[in-house]
Chain length 457, copies 2
């Protein structure tokens, strides 16, 4: 009866893949199907996408409906849409009926309107999917599923357990039961465990917790994520404007949201606007996303060039300035990037309050100043020893102190200002921040050099 407990194993998927290919080559399609469907749906999807088109189309018609639905649920958005577009309409409708309603709605939103309309017209189970179609992807409504267990407050624990016995065992979120009155209003929550250990004739309203965290159907998925992470919730009910419960977001949705939001922040800080971009994106999509930021950087870099060009006569007289101007820019840029990362993360995790901005800013400024003095003194001394000119060393040191001070202030303030403007603080990417530190650094270093030109020649 008992098998060895199962651990994750990439090799296992690979060796399974080999076995499937062997069976396919030998013409044993049924055996191949059996090996495939014994996998966890997540592994099944991985293995299936590794197969080539010919192998896929040999297997697909023989896959049972439930496995095919599992497969579609686990595929990446684009892969699922491509797969859906390739199927005959009646099979697609059957699959969508079999899938979790939130996953089915996602697929319907990603395929062509015409194809979605065809599939909807042939689907049987529209009640759960239709309400999900109108929501934006990144809202609570776009993340929720309509498949949840609702109980009436005046029923008994025994009745509730009977009700559970007769419900679809595939339904999601079996652990929190939501108490909904006759008007559809969310009025309480009950853990399955509390239900199990309650006296059989206790009413639901006497054992439920009347305080239920919830989120508005139109709220950003980040807000839902913050509530669930803060209060350690495995499920969060979603309500409409009238307080009617319309769905639930579950912990596994939150795993996805947390990963997506982290990708978005990392990408934006690195000048990549869309979190959808991956190594698998076609080149033209990658370029469409990445090139605009590089063009923006072209303008900021040419602006910095224009700053330098104002000092061309100075540079013509003291060429060694060209050697060190970039040190000032580079250290400013990296010091700003450090402040930026810490501030963006603090905002994302909700650990900074706008009232504390001044205290934070003063602290960062002090950090920047102390770092600037340390680095400025070291580099100044080193360059004096290298080039033998004390004034060059002093000017470089002072410019480093000034630019590293400005750097931390800019790195701290830009995300705060973006936040205050209700924009994503992570848009304060390295392009924008280094635009300031480069230009300011060049101006400060070359400006000081122009002032003390006689001592540099």
């Amino acid at each position: 009866l008992t098998e060895a407990p199962r651990a994750i194993d990439k090799d296992r998927v690979d060796s399974t893949l080999e076995k499937i290919r062997e069976k396919l080559e030998a013409g044993d399609i049924q055996d191949a199907i059996e090996i495939l469907t014994r996998l966890h749906p997540a592994d099944l999807a991985d293995a299936f996408t590794e197969l080539d088109e010919q192998e896929q189309s040999a297997l697909l018609p023989r896959l049972d409906l439930q496995s095919a639905a599992d497969l579609m649920e686990e595929l990446q958005d684009q892969a699922a849409a491509d797969f859906a577009e390739s199927l005959p309409t009646d099979l697609l409708a059957d699959l969508l009926d079999e899938m979790q309603p939130d996953e089915a709605a996602d697929v319907l939103g990603d395929i062509s309107r015409q194809r979605a309309a065809q599939a909807l017209s042939e689907m049987e189970d529209l009640d759960e999917v239709l309400p999900l179609l109108g929501h934006e992807d990144e809202t609570a409504g776009g993340r929720m599923t309509t498949s949840f267990v609702g109980l009436l407050p005046d029923s008994t624990a025994q009745q509730a357990i009977e009700f559970l016995r007769h419900r679809d065992p595939e339904a999601e979120t079996p652990y929190y039961l939501y108490v909904i009155d006759h008007d559809g209003q969310l009025t309480g929550v009950l853990g399955l465990r509390e239900l199990v250990i309650a006296p059989p004739n206790a009413t639901i309203s006497s054992i439920m917790d009347p305080q239920v965290f919830h989120v508005d159907v139109k709220a950003d998925q980040e807000e839902a994520a913050r509530i669930m992470a803060r209060y350690d919730l495995a499920g969060l009910p979603v309500v409409d404007e009238a307080g009617k419960m319309v769905g639930v977001i579950t912990y596994d949705d939150l795993f996805d949201v947390l990963e997506e939001e982290a990708t978005e922040d990392i990408y934006r800080l690195a000048n990549v606007p869309s979190a959808e971009l991956s190594l698998d994106s076609p080149i033209h999509v990658a370029i469409r996303q990445r090139l605009p930021w590089l063009f923006l950087n072209t303008f900021t870099a040419l602006f910095a060039s224009w700053v330098i060009s104002n000092f061309e006569p100075v540079l013509a007289q003291v060429a060694v300035l060209a050697v060190f101007q970039s040190v000032v820019a580079a250290l400013g840029g990296n010091a700003a990037t450090q402040s930026l990362a810490i501030m963006v993360r603090a905002i994302a995790l909700g650990t900074v309050e706008l009232q504390e901005v001044w205290r934070t800013l003063v602290k960062e400024a002090l950090t920047g100043l102390l770092q600037g003095v340390t680095i400025g003194a070291s580099v100044g001394l080193g360059v004096f020893l290298w080039k033998g000119n004390p004034v060059l060393g002093i000017i470089l040191g002072v410019a480093l102190i000034g630019n590293m001070l400005i750097a931390v202030i800019v790195g701290t303030l830009i995300p705060l200002v973006l936040r205050w403007l209700n924009q994503d603080p992570a848009l304060a990417s390295s392009v924008l921040v280094t635009a300031v530190t480069d230009s300011f650094g060049f101006a400060l270093f070359l400006g000081l050099a122009a002032l003390f030109l006689p001592y540099l020649r």
Copy 2:
């Protein structure tokens, strides 16, 4: 009976804080306590940390043990350790007994050894905490709790429900029940829901799922996170070398791990080595973390300066080169950062396979080349129009193409090499990557200029 459903509300914490302060000023400590303990533990901890020391010490002795334990569980690591150090030993021991064993173990690991030994000697409930003390923070053992529900395979559903009725209702992970044989071996898992709907005299072994995902107690927390996120698990059992179940990691731990790992990646890419750093860190801690990377950057920047210094004679003759050398460096740096972010994220989410490296590299190189040609041609043309020198424009354009090509290759390869060396790919921070793009960019641009010097003067 029913109250309005509860949504997250920062303002609510703030207005509660005001009420508590009013009560304290009026001397109504009991009222203040009542307001405080009516909050969710997460809000309670937030409100409490906002109070000043005097207010805290007025409230603390009157807080009931459970609320104080809740408070300690919700405090940040450092705050919890400070709080623990400030308490009398007997009270600390009582609190630790009351806390979840994993949280208690974390506190014991964060306070001084002497203080921890004192507290342990006065604690009553050591069975659950002691096994947790030996594990590294970022391993599965360091994340798990020992508080889980284990069932014997030959007991019946009815017996299991009776057992649940008599267990501590505070125990974590009430939703998965783990089936453990007489030798302590993990042999199956059972959802609470499956237990509820099973016939009362069915044996546990007949209704359990014998395939259980699990993780080794010494595995990195990231591995546990990947399994839970991949297979949408609300709980993951942790086993020792002998296959004995020693604990469980729950979905709320995973929320924390996902946030921590994202912070770590964002920080490392931005040259901040420790994810522990926050806006609240003291300045000397911030500088100790951030300064070493800025010193590393000093060396890479001075190396780039040395590259430039080899072209001082050229720069002395054509000062305008100093104006544009930084454009080449800046665009290379930002193009590399884009590749870096996409690659680091792909590795973190496990969506890249080492076998696909070549395909990925060729695709990135093509992207870099196309972007380089677009930007190089635009900038080259622009600078020709600005400065009137076609050769300057061509040299700048060619250097941009070359550096942006190298940039994407470096941004893609460095994280892969780090991964291959079993290091964190996110250590390929902007400092390291721009070290390459700066030096190479300067050398390429100034080298080309030296070659075509007669056309530039």
